[in-house]
Amino acid sequence: MIDITIDGEVVQVVSGSTLLDACRLIGKDQPTLCYLETLSPVNVCRVCVVELEGSRTLVPSCSRMAESGMVVQTDSERVRHSRKVVLEFLASSVDLSLAGSEVRDWLDQYEARPDRFGPRAAPTGDRDRRHAGHHHRTTGSVAETVQQSIKIDNPLYVRDYSRCILCYKCVEACGEDAQNTFAIAVAGRGFDARISTEFDVALPESACVYCGNCIGVCPTGALMFRSEHELRQAEMWEEERQTVTRTICSYCGVGCNLDLHVQDNRIEKVTSPQDHDVTSGHLCIKGRFGYEYVQELGDLATTPIDEVLARARQH
């Protein structure tokens, strides 16, 4: 066991714990955006930074290992200031309107004023073609954003990178931390860095296998199931009316847990619990999308199968 001090309180943690683990142990959860228990920490969002005595800079609590005798402040002026500015950076450059409500709470809590960088720049259409080391000259009259048009190039996903905070979670879930398909990666550099397939090809031309695991980990709604997107567009997405029921996928013998999100007796979204050790929240295309056949497609028991399938595909 290791003793550390957090905000004056002595905490005992097991060796191998992070500062975030230690904070959580005493009920002081820290804000995080790029951190997820099931993925390797990438330390990039920097909203979880804390002040560590003896360290020149703040340290990311999500990945910094606790060492005996560490003295940590989670709410010092320096911590509050950095978190405030980081949240302002994100809120001024990214559309956070579909991020979890906790993000809006943090913006309030840290008194972030994202508007102070000026009016938001108009959307641009060239973000996927920007060359490293070269960018448009700015007059500084508007604050640059990642605003761009939404990518809809397949029946199952939409990608709205105006909402992307570049937390790398989707890349990790598509890559070594889960799916190992590597259909997407971070491309470009600096403010022009973006999530991309090779040469920005549409998903159907990429290696994507539509497991939806990127969507499962996206914290801001940049990646979304098309079913959810369309309901939202039609202003028919009503989370408060939905039920979430846990069951087991029927498509193979692995026993993946599915959480079925149901609205009006229709499955509108399928997720998997991150804290279950069979899936760690990850599924395959069948578990994620293979439910259409139980949607209301007429009386299945009396309709010839070919008609049912045809209807399902049209849907």
Binding site: V42, N43, V44, C45, R46, V47, V49, T57, L58, P60, S63, R78, H81, S82, K84, V85, V86, F89, L90, S92, S93, R116, F117, G118, R129, H131, A132, G133, H134, H135, R137, T138, T139, G140, S141, V142, A143, E144, I165, L166, G175, T181, F182, A183, I184, A185, V186, A187, G188, R189, G190, F191, D192, A193, S196, T197, E198, F199, S206, A207
Partner: protein, 574 residues
């Protein structure tokens, strides 16, 4: 259907990288897996080879590289688009990268760009590391070696774009220790290097033994010359304590605007770089060394490559060097246009075939470095001191300079001085002394950029600053990589500060939020400064970027702007 390479592309790729998987009997046995996936470190060399031979990296070429190295195309694309010198769009076979960075832009760079800047084959470039001979243009040529035009005119560039070649003029250097042989010996001759005392230090190191070499280096007080000023002996000792395999990396990605001293050493005395690395490798117990050199240094790259071949042919690299029983070899890796790869952990990622994104520390490179192994990484100039220490002893070395800043240092003088160049002085002389060595200031001094873009603008009141780590620290400035760029009253300082802000916005890797967005917001604030500047806003951004960024780029990106605000060059603070 995945894009296929052209025959020419396939030929380049076949030459530059092996097949990772081996087929034992077609359709029956394939050996792949872990061993095959270990070829990823060849990704950047493969992309660079295609860029260099073909002039751009097409989807077909990328796919073929990926197929051979088992790297997913999206990842390879992410790597390719990280680097400014790699184009993923077809472009002319001859491209001029015209430096419009702080030293060049007001010394001819902008004129070239206004004459030729509309051409598709003319693009702007950050500092090319020849600030003593402005303006500078890098000619990137498909199928031929790249070269640099110094003191270029638009006519030179137009001619070069038509195929003309021109020789690079060597930099002016003055100095008796590190620069002793630069300009005096044939950089291609191992024999001459040895006649001039080369490889005596290595022999002596073998006599002393590894532990004793580290002791001498510790005693010498040598501190890193790349900007971070970490004690070299302590670093080596830490690496030597860790389990093998260990690596030794020479950081030759000299990209700090205004810096060109390492280039001068590599071009003028390449064997000393190799000898120094071999001693460092011996001391730390590393069996392999890497030189990571920026892609904008074609001549230095060529000279090092030639020198490595000569050493390998003469038993100075490879197995059982000089009969000592010590095995060591050096591989040279070329950067592709990314300032951030000078950051040590970004450099490791770059060598390993990933995007040059810095890693969160700890763990430090001495424990988890290149390929996840203990790694000693030193800057070229730092390493160049090592043979001197071994030969004269750590104590004698430590007697030079001040007790806290031992030895001599190389300073890169550029801008409005009479004789720009590299000057070697004992630590402790003043800024004024060094500028005087360069013939003094041309015109009326308004400010000096000290330490590079990651350093600060200082005013004439600092001319008597002693150039030591401790004096710089006390004055709240940094010597950084030894940049002393002098500006007289004819210079548009606001334009220069904007350029620095643009530089950081361009060179941020984009990984962490404070730096990715912060560099853009700082640039915007500087751009809209019109008679007055939002100083408190910049202060706030600077504090958050210093505190919350992953690496030194974010930590320092706003500092130089703050220093300029302090000098009043951006107008009134508000």
């Amino acid at each position: 259907m995945a894009a296929e390479p052209t025959p020419a592309e396939r030929a380049v790729i076949t030459r530059s990288i092996p097949e990772s998987e081996t087929v034992e009997v077609l359709g029956r046995v394939v050996h792949g897996g872990h061993d095959a996936r270990q070829q990823r470190h060849l990704l950047l060399p493969a992309l660079a080879a295609v860029q260099s031979e073909i002039g751009w990296v097409s989807p077909g070429a990328l796919n073929e590289i990926c197929r051979r190295l088992l790297v997913p195309p999206a990842e390879a694309y992410g790597v390719a688009t990280f680097y400014a010198l790699i184009s993923i769009e077809e472009r002319p076979p001859l491209v001029a990268h015209v430096c419009d960075d702080i030293a060049c832009r007001q010394s001819g760079g902008n004129e070239i760009l206004s004459a030729l800047g509309d051409r598709l084959d003319v693009i702007t470039s950050p500092c090319l590391g020849q600030c003593d001979q402005c303006p500078v243009v890098l000619m990137q040529r498909a199928g031929q070696d790249d070269f640099v035009i110094t003191a270029a005119t638009s006519a030179d560039v137009a001619a070069a774009l038509n195929g003309a070649e021109s020789a690079t003029t060597p930099s002016h250097v003055e100095g008796g220790r590190l620069l002793k042989r630069v300009g005096q010996v044939d950089p291609g001759s191992l024999a001459q290097y040895r006649r001039e005392g080369g490889y005596q230090a290595l022999a002596r190191a073998f006599e002393l033994g590894a532990a004793a070499v580290i002791e001498e280096v510790k005693m010498s007080g040598l501190m890193g010359r790349g900007g971070a000023a970490f004690p070299t002996g302590i670093k080596w000792e830490a690496v030597a304590r860790e389990p093998a395999p260990r690596y030794l990396v020479c950081n030759a990605d000299e990209s700090e605007p205004g810096t060109f001293k390492d280039r001068v050493l590599m071009e003028g005395d390449p064997f000393s770089v190799l000898e120094s690395m071999t001693i460092a490798g011996f001391a730390t117990g590393s069996s392999r060394g890497y030189i990571y050199i920026r892609g904008e240094y074609p001549l230095a790259f060529h000279r090092l490559e030639t020198a490595i071949a000569a050493c390998q042919a003469n038993g100075l690299l490879g197995g059982d060097i000089l009969g000592s029983g010590f095995d060591f070899d050096i591989e040279i890796r070329k950067g592709q246009g990314a300032y951030i790869c000078g950051e040590e952990t970004a450099l490791f990622n770059s060598i390993e075939g990933f995007r040059g994104e810095p890693r969160q520390k700890p763990p430090f490179p001495v424990q988890v470095g290149l390929f996840g192994r203990p790694t000693a990484i030193n800057n070229v100039e730092t390493l160049a001191n090592v043979p001197l220490i071994v030969l004269e002893g750590g104590a004698a070395f430590g007697a030079i300079g001040t007790p806290d800043s031992t030895g001599t240092r190389l300073f890169c003088l550029s801008g409005d001085v009479v004789r720009p160049g590299v000057y070697e002085v004992a630590s402790g002389v003043t800024l004024r002394n060094v500028i005087d060595l360069a013939g003094g200031i041309e015109g009326d001094l308004t400010s000096i950029l000290l330490g590079g873009a990651a350093g600060s603008f200082i005013g004439p009141e600092h001319l008597d600053l002693r150039l030591t780590f401790e004096d710089a620290r006390a004055a709240g400035v940094s010597l950084g990589s030894g940049v002393i760029m002098v500006f007289n009253s004819t210079r548009d300082m606001k334009d220069l500060v904007r350029r620095v802000a643009r530089f950081f916005r361009d060179e941020s890797c984009g990984q962490c939020v404070p730096c990715r967005v912060g560099t853009a917001r700082v640039e915007e604030a500087v751009a809209r400064a019109n008679g007055s500047i939002e100083a408190s806003l910049i202060d706030e951004l600077d504090r958050a970027m210093k505190d919350a960024s992953i690496c030194g780029l974010g930590h320092t990106a706003a500092a130089v702007v703050r220093s300029a605000i302090g000098l009043g060059v951006l107008g009134e603070s508000r």
